[in-house]
């Protein structure tokens, strides 16, 4: 990215609220005229980052440069940046015209007065022309005199956009602007926003948690998680070459497996060795992503020896294609196919080498994305229940005697069957000799010496791997039990807790 084309540059930006780091060492250069999307789950820091660019928040540390000039400390009303707010924030006491003209009426432009440079307000005629033009861009030409309260959600959205672009900002910030619209309207607005971006040539910075929206509209997507950038790239890059399991899981549908490099350009998952095109050291633990549309299914009469064979367990008609779920041993493979097959069919599962995306595994933690909570409020990883502290899922919550989670506001939640992501630190797993002494048991499949300790991988009967650090030597093939203290299992709920609320 060349320096002169970079319109805004965030350099080592941090934001800490009450001791919690919300944005962590954020570095990004945005090119002039680009459509950039900050994408991530709620609470990932994307809105905070946007607010720092707008000037509503000041970074705790780091710098924000606009056209090479430091604007970190400049208040929002002096920045050539305008925002389209999440709930529009239109001024209810003004009509459409006055809302759009709000910024123009405050603006002062340089002029000459008696030969001396001075500033003047825009004339009524200039304002009229600019407002009319902005309303034309958003297709609201005839709406100048309407009261805000008489407009539909979509029309209010358009007024909010007109109100921002009429000031001809260098950067337009959009904070989940389509969140309040219904699905069809959202789709239409996506296309319109994209066209507007092309027409205006302004840099757009867009914040959303909707991956489809991000893929449709952006030139560049910035995927964020817990205040950190996970990946920056074009939609195609992000979709096809996610750098880690989080990005792959967040963007689009995907099959993600724990895998091991079985040889040069060979990777082992689903109990089978596949050819691949990514080069990783042999025996390295990796994550593998296979997109559902890249899975090739072939109906066979009997299980094949040299191919992965599974059974179709569900089938959903989706219009253009069918969605199948294929059970392979204990793993599941999601597939998309235009051919009609039947539930119960025996199929082979194949994937072209270039469609297997291999990602370096993050081994600072054991992460189990398919975990769930059972009716005893234990977290089930693979098939083994572990005691855990579910009250951590909701701040200040408690557990009632009959096993419901009680929120600080008195709301009751039934977490039975809730899907969660469980995280266990490498140093939090205790390994005990012999069977049945812990929460689950398995076999040591690898021992790697890491300088001052060993990193041991234990594989349980149901093919879950637990990686742990230990100072002692163990041997591959040892049968061990493993134990985790309830407070050492970090849980993250998939989706909003509201859907588990009970009356």
């Amino acid at each position: 990215m060349s320096k002169e084309n970079c319109i805004i540059s965030l350099q080592g930006v941090n934001k800490v609220f009450d001791g919690t780091t919300v944005v962590d060492n954020f570095n990004l250069d945005i090119t002039k005229g680009e459509f950039v999307t900050f994408l991530g789950p709620s609470g990932c820091g994307k809105t905070t980052t946007l607010r720092m660019i707008a000037g509503f928040e000041t970074p705790t540390s780091g710098k924000i440069l606009l056209n090479g000039e430091d604007i970190t400390k400049i208040p929002p009303h002096k920045r050539p940046i305008n925002t389209v707010f999440q709930r529009y924030a239109l001024f209810p006491h003004l009509d459409v015209y006055d809302n759009v003209a709000f910024g123009l009426k405050l603006k002062k432009i340089p002029c000459e007065k008696k030969g001396k440079p001075a500033f003047r307000h825009l004339t009524a005629k200039e304002i009229d022309e600019k407002v009319a033009h902005a309303l034309e861009i958003v297709d609201l030409d005839e709406f100048e005199d309407r009261d805000i309260s008489t407009l539909s959600g979509g029309q209010q959205q358009r007024v909010a956009i007109a109100r921002a672009i009429v000031n001809e900002p260098e950067i337009l910030l959009l904070d989940e602007p389509l969140g309040a619209l219904d699905l069809k309207m959202r789709k239409d607005m996506q296309i319109e926003l994209k066209e507007m971006h092309k027409k205006l040539g302004i840099t757009f910075i867009y914040v959303t948690h909707d991956q489809e929206e991000a893929l449709t509209m952006s030139d560049t997507i910035v995927v964020m998680k817990s205040g950190e950038i996970q990946q920056v790239g074009t939609p195609i890059d992000i979709y096809n070459e996610p750098v880690n399991a989080f990005v792959a899981d967040f963007i689009g549908e995907s099959n993600i497996y724990n895998a091991t490099m079985a040889g040069k350009l060979k990777v082992r998952f689903l109990n089978h060795v596949f050819d691949c095109i990514d080069d990783f050291p042999v025996n390295e633990k990796v994550d593998v992503v296979v997109r559902p549309e890249d899975v090739i299914l072939t109906v066979v009469k009997e299980p094949s020896k040299d191919k992965v064979t599974g059974k179709i367990v569900t089938k959903v008609f989706k219009g253009v294609h069918y969605e199948y779920l294929v059970q392979v041993g204990k793993a599941e493979v999601e597939c998309r196919d235009t051919k009609d097959r039947n539930v119960g069919d025996l199929v082979t599962v194949e994937v072209e080498p270039e469609n297997i995306q291999i990602m370096k595994k993050d081994v600072t933690n054991n992460i189990y994305t398919e975990a769930w909570i059972n009716n005893k409020n234990q977290v089930v990883i693979g098939e083994d229940p572990f005691d855990c502290d579910v009250t951590k899922l909701l701040k200040d919550s408690t557990l009632s005697e009959d096993g419901y989670l009680i929120g600080p506001d008195g709301k009751k939640y039934d977490l039975n069957d809730a899907d969660v992501i469980a995280e266990i630190g490498l140093d939090k797993i205790e390994m005990i000799d012999g069977f049945d002494n812990g929460d689950t048991n398995g076999e040591i499949v690898s021992v790697v010496y890491k300088g001052d300790h060993y990193q041991v991988m234990v594989r349980t009967d149901d093919e879950e791997d637990f990686i742990l650090d230990t100072p002692y030597t163990w041997n591959e093939g040892d049968q061990v039990s493993i134990k985790v203290l309830p407070q050492d299992i970090k849980l993250m709920l998939k989706g909003d807790i509201a859907k588990y609320e009970v009356e």
């Binding site: 707008a54 509503f56 208040p75 929002p76 009303h77 940046i81 305008n82 925002t83 707010f85 999440q86 709930r87 924030a89 239109l90 001024f91 209810p92 006491h93 003004l94 009509d95 015209y97 006055d98 709000f102 910024g103 009426k105 405050l106 603006k107 009524a124 100048e144 005199d145 309407r146 009261d147 309260s149 008489t150 109100r163 921002a164 000031n167």
Partner: protein
């Protein structure tokens, strides 16, 4: 059926209890008798007495001047206080709210006495004299009204979408302009009802007036400003209520009724107007 009749009776009973005394008073304002209850034929004499009595008219003018000026000051102070507290840190806001709550629940006599002592003690230290005037009366009424204005404005600030202020700033408004052009119009209904409440409180206040009143604007020769409530109180002490008061009460009551009906009709008209997307806005635009 019985229940329905009982319900109707109950409502009528309450209404009669509320309005009968006023209606009796209105009826006897049209007869020239010293005591209510003795009908001495229909006449407008009391009304002509009323508008000829300099004493009553001065008291009325004093009351209105104090009510309007004190309500204006209380509205400005209360509104600024509410805005200031709303945008302050939580700790400061709690402290402010607590302090604001005390005058609201406090007995009026306590406040009146404290003010009187303050106006007597402080100036006597500086000027060696007790100082009471129009201004002390005004301060008393402002102290009475401001906390209620605060209470009326606060919920409007809480209801306001916080991004409205940010949107104004984002569009280039300085913080003060944003406050003036966006926050104030949003909380205006609260400011207005606070203003009306302050007027009402001031109009019929007796306790604070009695303790803080001094030489005034309209009756420069008098030792103190006489408001209506003070005047009536004075008259009662010496004998029967002056009959002209009945006429005055009737006039005040009718004005209030007129005001309430007016506001109701205006609101009705406004909501009707809002329903039809109006074309009148076009004229307003340039003036903004």
């Amino acid at each position: 059926m019985v229940k329905k009749i009982f319900g109707q009776c109950y409502i009528w009973l309450i209404l009669i209890l509320m309005y009968l005394p006023i209606l009796v008073l209105i009826a006897f304002s049209f007869t020239k008798s010293v005591n209510v209850g003795v009908w001495k034929g229909f006449s407008f004499d009391l009304y002509s007495d009323l508008f000829r009595s300099k004493e009553i008219l001065t008291a009325l003018a004093n009351t209105l001047i104090i009510a309007i000026t004190s309500a204006l000051v209380a509205t400005i102070l209360g509104t600024l206080g509410a805005i200031g507290a709303f945008y302050s840190s939580k700790k400061f806001r709690r402290a402010y709210e607590f302090v604001n709550q005390i005058p609201v629940v406090n007995a009026e006599i306590v406040m009146a006495l404290s003010l009187a002592i303050m106006f007597a003690a402080l100036p006597s230290l500086i000027f060696h004299t007790d100082l009471r005037s129009y201004w002390t009366l005004l301060i008393g009424h402002v102290v009475l009204g401001a906390p209620f204005v605060y209470i009326n404005v606060k919920p409007k600030l809480q209801q306001m979408d916080p991004s409205l202020y940010e949107a104004a700033i984002d569009l280039g408004a300085k913080p003060r302009q944003a406050l003036w052009k966006v926050t104030l119009p949003e909380i205006l209904p609260g400011v207005f009802s606070g203003f009306l409440l302050a007027i009402t409180l001031s109009l019929d206040d007796f306790v604070i007036s009695q303790f803080t009143t001094g030489p005034g604007l309209l009756s420069a020769g008098d030792p103190k400003i006489v408001t209506l409530s003070i005047l009536i109180q004075d008259k009662i002490k010496k004998g029967p209520i002056p009959p002209a008061m009945r006429a005055l009460t009737t006039v005040i009551f009718l004005l209030v009724v007129l005001g309430v009906v007016g506001i109701t009709v205006f609101r009705h008209y406004k909501s009707k107007k809002a329903a039809l997307a109006s074309k009148a806005n076009r004229k307003r635009r340039r003036a903004y």
